[in-house]
Symmetry: C2
Subunit: 330 residues, 2 copies
DNA sequence: CTGTTAGCGCTTTCAC
DNA sequence: GTGAAAGCGCTAACAG
């Protein structure tokens, strides 16, 4: 057990100011009932002694830590980290800090991290689910959770998401308006709500334009780079590959682009429609239609909602959908 | 003040097991003096009641929170986040968790975050400094700090860094061996130790090969994309631009590449030497020599050292230099 | 308006 | 080996 060299406590402040610890505590917590003169006395003493409140002791009493947990599948992922940036900015405004946990897209790890957050007594959690499973989230006891980017089965709670359906629909519609009639689709894991919604946006857009659904150019994988590579290879190996291809996320796009470059295929005439804004799009020798997600805003909104819940907002779970932004890169 | 629905405490466990709270505490902390039978009794009770220790209460007593702070200039930066990934992995092994703080490369914000970490009573901190200033780090009271990626003026402590000098030197040497005699240099802010060390590696390599230092092709900016763009533009605007160019980091490379593509300059004959491994290198139509930093390992080593300090390692500050990895991308 | 007092849940001497 | 009791630094009835 480590000793603190010599910590100034409420007691010291109280003695120095000639008041009781209760009064000091009141001043610290902005209780308006304290007489102005007394409060000033206390503040002087605080100043003079360089007092800083021990948050741990406070937490023990109040059962509030003013910290929230955030669980993400991984950190070296621009998409997730832009969200975390938004979360942190918003939380700091309200005096909350962030405990960062990685789940490796793995339910077991997710469960562990939730236990850890329980033990740390965080006031709430923001989770980017690693899979579609969510029943283990109920281990998080009596504190609010806001889901981000994806929803899950088996656990109903607040969620902040992009409008995946409309983002995809609009991109496809844009291409159709430009003359596209045959649009390939590289999809993510259909267990993820976001992947499913994007697929539905694609299908509906085709349908609304009376375009046929050609299953030979609809391929499913997962959101990883390798998957994009393989699916693009498969697609381009067909007798007549499509000239328009929707790719469901950033990493798949990256992998797909890598294949295209390696293969030496002629890509000048290609039109890639893709979710997620990536700094690379400008470097690809084909035109892209990018469906950008407002990542920081997603994080910010999630944090905002979480704080409202922490402050006691009682209401049925809210699903917030944020509009995507379409960007044309020629 | 929120009420806990009904928390199981040591007291409950003690009663259930028919022992004192002291004994429960001993079992919890693995005290070998407890008789095996007693310990089993306690463990049964813990199991039966689903007891989980209140870490906050424990922290109040022990003055250890088992959490450490990590301050990084920003999160949406692959380089920093790969480091954080390494940190988190290592810390979790030892039961520590991570409080994430952003400094926006701003000393004032850095100071605030340090105060916050003080208040949260973290056991230590890992900092990626936003600038070369470090005297404000002394606000962090009596707890260890490990610096990462850069060192600072005015504060001496442990640091884990890449071998910037040797990484640069070797890349330049490699190019010279391949026949380069005129190598341009796009440098970062010379206030940052890493930028300075890379510059020195470049100079020394030239010198050791009896190559002249041509100041007209040595340009300085900062580590940002925009800077890379501008410097590359300036460089390529010269009557005889160099065919070999060293770029000091990831983001500058990105900006420089953007300029090269936009300008329509012929880049086939260009050789870019660049710090940091970026997934984009493969997409550029010129050959690259990449000096990759072992980012996760940097984080892991930093965490490891921090834990040793927390556990009481007394010794003069250690500077750990990790070797870089050279990658040729044709 | 302010002080007294009793804990929050845990660890840790000090006895036995 | 184990228990009794004090107390980490703070807050919140309850009195006055």
């Amino acid at each position: 057990m480590k000793k603190k060299s010599h910590t100034v406590t409420v007691k010291d402040v109280a003695r120095n100011a000639g008041v009781s610890t209760a009064t000091v505590s009141r001043v610290l917590n902005g209780d308006p009932k304290v007489k102005k003169d007394t409060a000033d006395l206390v503040r002087e003493a605080i100043e003079e002694l360089g007092y800083r409140m021990n948050q741990v002791a406070r937490s023990l009493k109040t059962n509030e830590t003013h910290s929230i947990g955030i669980i993400a599948p991984e950190f070296s992922n621009d998409f997730f980290m832009n969200i975390v940036t938004g979360v942190e900015k918003e939380l700091k405004k309200h005096g909350y800090s962030v405990i960062l946990c990685s789940s490796s897209e793995n339910t077991g790890k997710e469960k562990e991290q939730i236990q850890l957050l329980n033990d740390k007594n965080v006031d709430g959690a923001i989770i980017i689910p690693g899979s579609s499973l969510g029943s283990h989230f109920s281990l998080f006891r009596e504190k609010p959770i806001v889901l981000v980017d994806r929803m899950v089965d088996g656990f109903e709670t607040d969620a902040v998401l992009s409008d995946n359906f409309k983002g995809t629909y609009d991109a496809v519609q844009y291409s159709v308006n430009k003359g596209a009639v045959r649009i390939g689709f590289l999809g993510g894991n259909m267990n993820l709500t976001s992947a499913k919604e994007r697929y539905e946006g694609y299908l509906t857009a085709l349908k609304d334009n009376n375009l046929s659904v050609d299953e030979s150019i609809i391929l499913f994988g997962d959101y990883h780079s390798q998957s994009g590579y393989v699916l693009m290879k498969t697609l381009m190996g067909q007798t007549v590959p499509p000239e328009h291809i929707f790719i469901s996320n950033y990493f798949m796009h990256l992998g797909a682009a890598r294949y295209l470059l390696e293969s030496g295929n002629d890509v000048k005439g290609l039109h890639i429609l893709s979710f997620d804004d990536l700094p690379l799009a400008a470097f690809f020798p084909y035109s892209s239609i990018i469906v950008a997600q407002p990542m920081e805003e997603i994080g910010q909104k999630a944090a905002d909602l979480l704080i409202k819940r922490i402050q006691g907002l009682k209401e049925k779970p809210r699903i917030i959908r944020l509009p995507t932004i379409m960007k044309i890169v020629d």
